[in-house]
């Protein structure tokens, strides 16, 4: 319980920093920290495989890519903060937050289900992934291929 509160606090702190930091690199590092803390949250929910994948894919690949693009473009501009716009956006987000929180007032499940020790390990995920989700798995790999080709085509210099 205490662990959850510490992790939740850190997650919220870093994610707020993502939105409020005016420097892009600071935002990116805050997001990397958020993703890292969320990986630990996944561990508390018996999802060790996904926790590690979260670090590997999000923090290790996607965030590095974003940082790489930031350095490549090197915009070096600090964003202005129009007060009215920020106020409006924050209010809207708070309203959305209240609405979503109202939805979880009566969740469908209350108690934890009993799970085997191997829950969330590589075997159990692979079992599900390659039997029930074999077709989506294939489609996901095609999606990645399309994304690679699309990215190369978009970012390539026109000759």
């Amino acid at each position: 319980m205490i662990v959850f509160f510490i992790l939740a606090f850190l997650t919220l702190l870093f994610s707020l920093l993502v939105v409020t930091q005016r420097n892009v690199v600071h935002s990116a590092m805050a997001l990397a920290a958020t993703l890292f803390v969320m990986a630990v949250l996944f561990l508390t929910l018996d999802a060790p495989m996904l926790g590690v994948l979260q670090i590997l894919v999000y923090a290790g690949a996607i965030m590095i890519l974003i940082l790489f693009v930031i350095m490549l473009l090197n915009p070096l501009s600090i964003e202005a903060r129009p007060a009215a716009w920020w106020m409006l956006g924050s209010l809207g987000a708070a309203a959305l937050c209240l609405q979503l929180a109202a939805l979880v007032h009566r969740p469908a499940v209350s108690a934890e289900a009993a799970v085997p020790a191997s829950f969330g390990g590589p075997e159990s995920i692979a079992q599900s992934l390659f039997t029930d989700f074999a077709l989506p798995f294939g489609l996901a790999s095609v999606l990645l291929l399309v994304a690679i080709i699309g990215a190369v085509a978009l970012a390539q210099r026109q000759r």
Binding site: V18, T44, L45, L65, S77, V104, V115, S128, F133, A140
Partner: protein
């Protein structure tokens, strides 16, 4: 002691709202992309919480797919950012509204 599921759901809702706020407020395409990642992660947290409390591993498999889509989305999004920056020297979405009527 494990925290009850409501806590995880509320945390996820707040994270999602922060992501939405980032998309609405910020005027830097890269930060907007990062806020979208934040929203995707909030959803991931919901999936994993439900997966744990309902005792079925399917939720985690869905998160696996969300990660795949997020990676593809980030790659294509950043490629678009690079090519737009090459033509217009800006990352501000307000300068990218030629197609807006």
């Amino acid at each position: 002691m494990q925290a009850p599921i409501e806590y995880y759901l509320v945390l996820s809702a707040v994270l999602f709202a922060i992501g939405v706020a980032g998309v609405v407020i910020r005027r830097d395409v890269i930060v907007i992309l990062m806020s979208i990642e934040l929203m995707l992660n909030a959803v991931n947290l919901t999936f994993i919480a439900f997966s744990r409390f309902m005792g079925s591993v399917e939720g985690q498999v869905i998160v696996f797919f969300v990660m795949t889509v997020a990676a593809a989305e980030a790659v294509v999004g950043l490629a678009i950012v690079i090519s737009v920056f090459r033509f217009r020297q800006t990352l501000d979405p307000r300068d990218m509204q030629l197609l807006k009527w």
